[in-house]
């Protein structure tokens, strides 16, 4: 059986190997450059307070590398997963394969097993590379927990790759046609990724809210994920940072003090803050602390792996009960 899988997928395996090697070459070359650049920034800035650490480290097309590494395994997983059953049914080769002395269940176990394993391996290699590559950027911006960064590092890309493959296999088995299955799986993958990253991920654990002096500032320690930050009034009115949002919400006396308004005379922002403080305003930040980075990675990976397992279970039921 394993030999059949190898014979059927050796071309795809070669393509995946070439893509992985190319990605590795680019990521390694750029990653070493980034690392030395970041190192020199750190040396220059040691004991030099005026030095800017904010000089942009990552720029241009290469800044999008992690996204490619997220998208490519998912797309390939769907492109190669969807025909796993569907193409055999379309070309009737299922009648050859399923007429051998191997049950359909075992046939699917071996085929889907190897492909899911391959997806996990590709996702694992890619994420190892991008996680390493993102090191200086993480250090500079403390952004590893932020959407778009969280999704391309750590262990979650493995979950995405496995899920994409499972979704492709299940869609192909249910629709029995490759092209519609690819369309359904791509759509399903994109929608689920958006829903989870934009609406569900922030609720994996109850976010922490910290209040601080309205004139002060607060940055959570380490690679925290700040969900919302701004001012909150005594009546509980919450306003996001940015004077455009804040201004209409302020008490009239404080509004008059804001520099730039006609009524403001020799006032500074500090006088606005003092006014706000006097009226009971506080600053707040709602965030997921840096210590939750790995638990969140675990939860998100777990969700995708469980969904993949459910899809594969459905595939087995369909393969066993539906006529060939």
């Amino acid at each position: 059986m394993t030999w059949l899988v190898w014979r059927q997928y050796r071309a795809q395996a070669a393509i995946a190997a070439v893509l992985l090697a190319a990605a590795a070459a680019v990521i390694l070359a750029d990653g070493f450059q980034l690392a030395s650049h970041w190192h020199s920034i750190l040396i220059n800035c040691a004991g030099n307070t005026g030095c800017s650490q904010q000089a942009s480290l990552v720029n241009g097309m290469l800044g999008d590398l992690p996204y490619l590494s997220l998208i490519v395994p998912a797309v390939l997983g769907i492109l190669w997963g969807a025909p796993l059953v569907a193409h055999e049914l379309e070309t009737r080769t299922s009648d050859f394969a399923w007429a051998q002395s191997v049950t359909r269940t075992r046939w699917l176990t071996v085929k889907a097993g190897w492909l899911l394993l391959a997806a996990a391996a590709c996702g694992g290699i890619i994420t190892a590379l991008t996680t390493w590559w993102s090191g200086p950027d993480n250090a500079q911006h403390a952004s590893a927990f932020n959407p778009g960064h969280f999704d391309t590092q750590g262990i979650v890309p493995v979950g995405y790759a496995v899920f994409a493959m499972a979704l492709g296999i299940a869609a192909g088995t249910v629709t029995r046609r490759s092209v519609p299955a690819i369309a359904v799986a791509l759509g399903g993958f994109i929608v689920l990724r958006l829903v989870i990253s934009d609406f569900i991920r922030q609720h994996y654990m109850t976010a922490v809210t910290t209040y601080y002096d309205v004139a002060g500032s607060f940055t959570p320690r380490g690679q925290a994920w700040v969900l919302a930050q701004g001012g909150v009034s005594t009546t509980g009115r919450v306003v996001a940072t940015g004077w455009g949002d804040l201004y209409p919400a302020l008490p009239a006396v404080c509004q008059r003090l804001l520099p730039g308004t006609p009524t403001a005379k020799n006032t500074s922002l500090n006088s606005v803050f003092s006014c706000m403080r006097a009226h009971g305003w506080r600053g707040f930040a709602t965030y997921q602390p840096a210590s939750r980075y790995w638990p969140f990675q675990g939860i998100e990976t777990g969700i995708y792996v469980l969904l993949a397992a459910a899809l594969i279970a459905v595939t087995f039921v369909v393969i066993r009960t539906k006529d060939a």
């Binding site: 030999w3 014979r7 050859f96 051998q100 191997v102 359909r104």
Partner: protein, 300 residues
């Protein structure tokens, strides 16, 4: 003699269409059985049910002593070759031989290589580039390499030219001889002349139902054409089963299934060929369905 296949009121419905209706047949071991019938009669459905590739919606089937099932031991006994000659078009015959070796407990790779070499079919060429006849030979050889005890072949010669068809059937009869009684074949086709050469048993399906099932020689001996003057057939029908009637102005020809000797001296009995028998039973079904008139010529 034990039965390789025994079905009892086996039925298969697809939503509102009945593909096979209460099919009861028996095929003894060691026979080569012709599964005949018009297109859409249920031949493919019956073969797929017997191979375990589809499940019945009613009735039971016993194949080599058990219900068709997803079980390696059962699958190892069955050789199934579908109508479309399913092979991986981008793989060579040699690739298929290796796949078979990995997926079957008994696998006679030498048999495939020998037969294909005899037929001068290249082993190292993608099967998609072979001719239809060559592909059918590759598929048959691969099916035989499994050393099955029951071979289910769904219209394998339909797409072949006469020479390729003869080669295919020769391969089949050689395999029967090699197996020495331990191989049963069911071969579906609508080319009765081909089947007549190789088959000794027949299952006739029409309109999703079994019309005829049995040993060909016995069935031919049991059926006669009665040619005689046109008259009331009721006396004949009291003793015999009238399958089909053709009436002209003065003469009637009745195909009957004998139930004892024909006593009416005004009729002359004539032998029936397999093709005539098959066509009569297919026509009988159409008459029952009211699609066709069985009477031609003027008069009633």
């Amino acid at each position: 003699m034990s039965l390789a296949i025994e079905t009892h009121e086996l039925s298969k419905r697809y939503r509102r269409v009945s593909a096979l209706t209460e099919c009861t047949v028996a095929v003894p071991e060691g026979r080569i059985s012709a599964l005949v019938g018009p297109n859409g009669a249920g031949k493919t459905t019956l073969l797929r049910l017997l191979a375990g590739l589809a499940g019945p919606t009613g009735g039971t089937a016993s194949v080599l002593g058990g219900a068709p099932r997803q079980d390696p031991a059962f699958l190892a006994e069955i050789g199934f070759l579908a109508q479309e000659i399913p092979l991986y078009r981008r793989f060579t015959a040699e690739d298929h031989i290796r796949i078979g070796a990995h997926m079957n407990p008994r696998w006679d790779a030498a048999l495939v290589r020998t037969r294909l070499t005899e037929l001068r079919i290249p082993l190292d060429q993608r099967v998609g580039t072979l001719s239809g006849g060559q592909r059918a030979q590759v598929a048959l050889a691969l099916t035989l390499a499994k050393r099955p005890r029951l071979l289910l072949l769904d219209e394998p010669v339909a797409a072949l030219d006469p020479l390729a068809r003869r080669n295919f059937l020769t391969t089949l009869t050689a395999a029967m001889a090699d197996a020495d009684g331990d191989l049963t074949v069911v071969l579906s086709s609508h080319l009765v002349t081909d089947l007549e050469r190789v088959c000794d048993h027949i299952v006739l399906l029409a309109g999703s139902r079994v019309q005829l099932c049995g040993d060909i020689d016995t069935l031919l001996a049991e059926h006669k054409f009665l040619v005689g003057p046109r008259k009331d057939t009721a006396p004949i029908e009291r003793t015999h089963q009238v399958v089909h009637t053709v009436t002209t102005a003065r003469q009637s020809t009745l195909l009957i299934r004998l139930n004892g000797p024909v006593t009416d001296p005004s009729y002359q009995a004539e032998d029936v060929s397999l093709e005539e028998l098959v066509l009569a039973y297919m026509g009988a079904d159409e008459a029952a369905a009211g699609k066709h008139l069985t009477t031609v010529g003027e008069g009633s």
